[in-house]
Amino acid sequence: MTKKRFTLIQLLVHLVGWIPLAALAFDLFTDNLTANPIQAIEKRTGYTALAFLALSLACTPLAFLGWKALAQRRKALGNYGFLYAALHVSVFIAVDYGFNLESILRDVGSKQYIIIGATAFILLIPLAATSFQYWMKRLGKNWKRLHRLVYLIAPLVVLHFFMARKGNILNLTGDIFQPLLFAVIIGVLLLLRLGPVKAGITRLRTRLLHPAK
């Protein structure tokens, strides 16, 4: 029983997880969140949530490519993604709209990007709720099936991000560079999970590691 409680990578993940919140609190206390702090907080938490979602999705492909330690970290990264998504939604409901349900429903009902964002968040809730050991054991095979929802959630969040910016996805004009970057990153991370792609990488690696005799 001389097992270390925390690995270095584990500590790093938790450090990275809390830094954005600490930075946000610091900027809030030093009045460094623009003249429109509520919108700035919404933007920052949303962006951070998407970044953690991407990091979480990067674990499996990177583990497959050889960085095995990462396989165990995707759950924590995903939970940090949920933390920032929850902050994002809470600020929207409680601070931006001051719990004015009528106003919220009118906006949610008529704004596609809010509907898409809200759908992504609602889908994220069961994933966060079942991230405990208890549920992993209890759900067995279904746990994995349930958590495949993230393959739907991530593209929804990217679409939400695209639509929250002033620009046009179809002709790629306007303020779309960051959403486009995330679309490419998430797209590649999802592509790397496809059977044929994985098989191709395995073949390539075998060839490189064991050159033809």
């Binding site: 809030l28 206390f29 030093t30 009045d31 460094n32 623009t34 003249a35 429109n36 702090p37 509520i38 919108q39 601070v95 931006d96 709209y97 001051g98 004015n100 106003s103 009118r106 906006d107 008529s110 704004k111 596609q112 990007y113 639509m163 929250a164 002033k166 620009g167 046009n168 002709n171 790629l172 004009t173 306007g174 303020d175 779309i176 560079f177």
Partner: protein
């Protein structure tokens, strides 16, 4: 309430020298750090209506505040600090707080505007000469951004109609087209390939001739800072902010509806008219409410941004859902 807007002539002696308002900026910045925790307290709903920035300003500001401290509806003008550090100016950056820093070295004087097209007397006009000739006055206008935030801003400027009357549009002229300066070396955002630079906007001639339509050359009794659109900018208070084009170098009178940058990028969302209208929603931002900078709660958006009495007649008989 007898005047449709606050209009106050500005004596040249009242115009604040640049070094004074720049030092004021440093002062407010320093005060902002000290008052950081107060600012947080101001975020609590119970503090609503007591914006700390305005208080800071009245304590020991070396600058005479805007000649009048409220708009005609009684709402206070926003602080110089907020107005000059929260800018939608994609030619510099999409980061509203970052514009001021990137625009520091942008040269706004001397500044020339070329007026051409369907006019009898085309020509190039120096902003300094325009200021001498047209005696700018202070006008306190609400600015409503399409992103659903708003400010009250004490501009200094003169009606665009004065310049148009001097160049005399011909009878064929139906529209006015405006273009921002193209200077990618000084405006890093103009190097981005995602926009059809330079920024261009347009008005119908009768909108351009309306007395509310201002060419602004100053702010808060001083000159117009680069991040706020200096050398010279348009201010059309009843339209969403993106119509009020900054750093204008070209004005052209045309017979056809001119190019407008956001309309070209996304015509389903940004119309040519872009009148503030709480009843016609932008597909992404609700236009029914807005957040006044410095306030916590949203407030209802007013038809034509509160200038309906003055401008509704321009659009009589038009379907504003179609002509958004």
């Amino acid at each position: 309430m007898d005047s449709p807007f606050k209009s106050v002539p500005v004596k040249s002696s009242e115009i604040t020298p640049k070094h004074v308002y720049l030092s004021r900026r440093d002062f407010i910045k320093a005060a902002g750090v000290i008052a950081g925790s107060m600012a947080l307290a101001a975020c609590l709903p119970s503090q609503e209506g007591a914006p700390d920035a305005v208080e800071t300003e009245t304590v020991s500001s070396p600058v005479p505040p805007a000649a009048e401290n409220t708009d005609e509806l009684g709402d206070p003008v926003n602080s110089f600090e907020d107005i000059t550090n929260y800018n939608n100016y994609y030619e510099f950056t999409t980061d509203k707080q970052g514009v001021a820093r990137l625009a520091t070295d942008f040269k706004t004087s001397p500044w020339d505007v070329e007026v051409s097209g369907l006019v009898k007397n085309p020509g190039k006009f120096g902003v300094e000469d325009l200021i001498k000739k047209y005696q700018p006055e202070e006008r306190i206008y609400r600015l409503r951004c399409v992103e659903a935030w708003s400010m009250v801003i004490p501009w200094v400027g003169f009606p665009l109609s004065k310049l148009l009357n001097e160049v005399e549009p011909t009878s064929d002229a139906k529209y006015v087209s405006f273009a921002t300066i193209l200077k990618p070396d000084e405006m890093p955002g103009q190097k981005e390939p995602w926009y059809p630079w330079p920024y261009r906007e347009g008005l119908r001639l009768d909108e351009a001739m309306h007395d509310l339509t201002l060419l602004a050359t100053g702010l808060y009794g001083g000159e117009l800072p680069p991040q706020s659109g200096g050398g010279i900018r348009l201010v059309v208070p009843w339209k969403y902010g993106f119509k009020s084009i900054k750093a204008i170098v070209k004005i052209e009178l045309t017979a056809e509806e001119p190019f407008a940058l956001w309309k070209a990028i996304q015509p389903s969302e940004y119309g040519f008219y872009a009148n503030v209208n709480p009843n016609v929603d932008h597909p992404r931002w609700s236009q029914a409410t807005e957040r006044r900078i410095g306030e916590i709660s949203r407030r209802p958006t007013l038809m034509f941004n509160g200038y309906a009495e003055q401008v509704a007649g321009l659009y009589e008989g038009m379907d504003l859902r179609v002509n958004y």
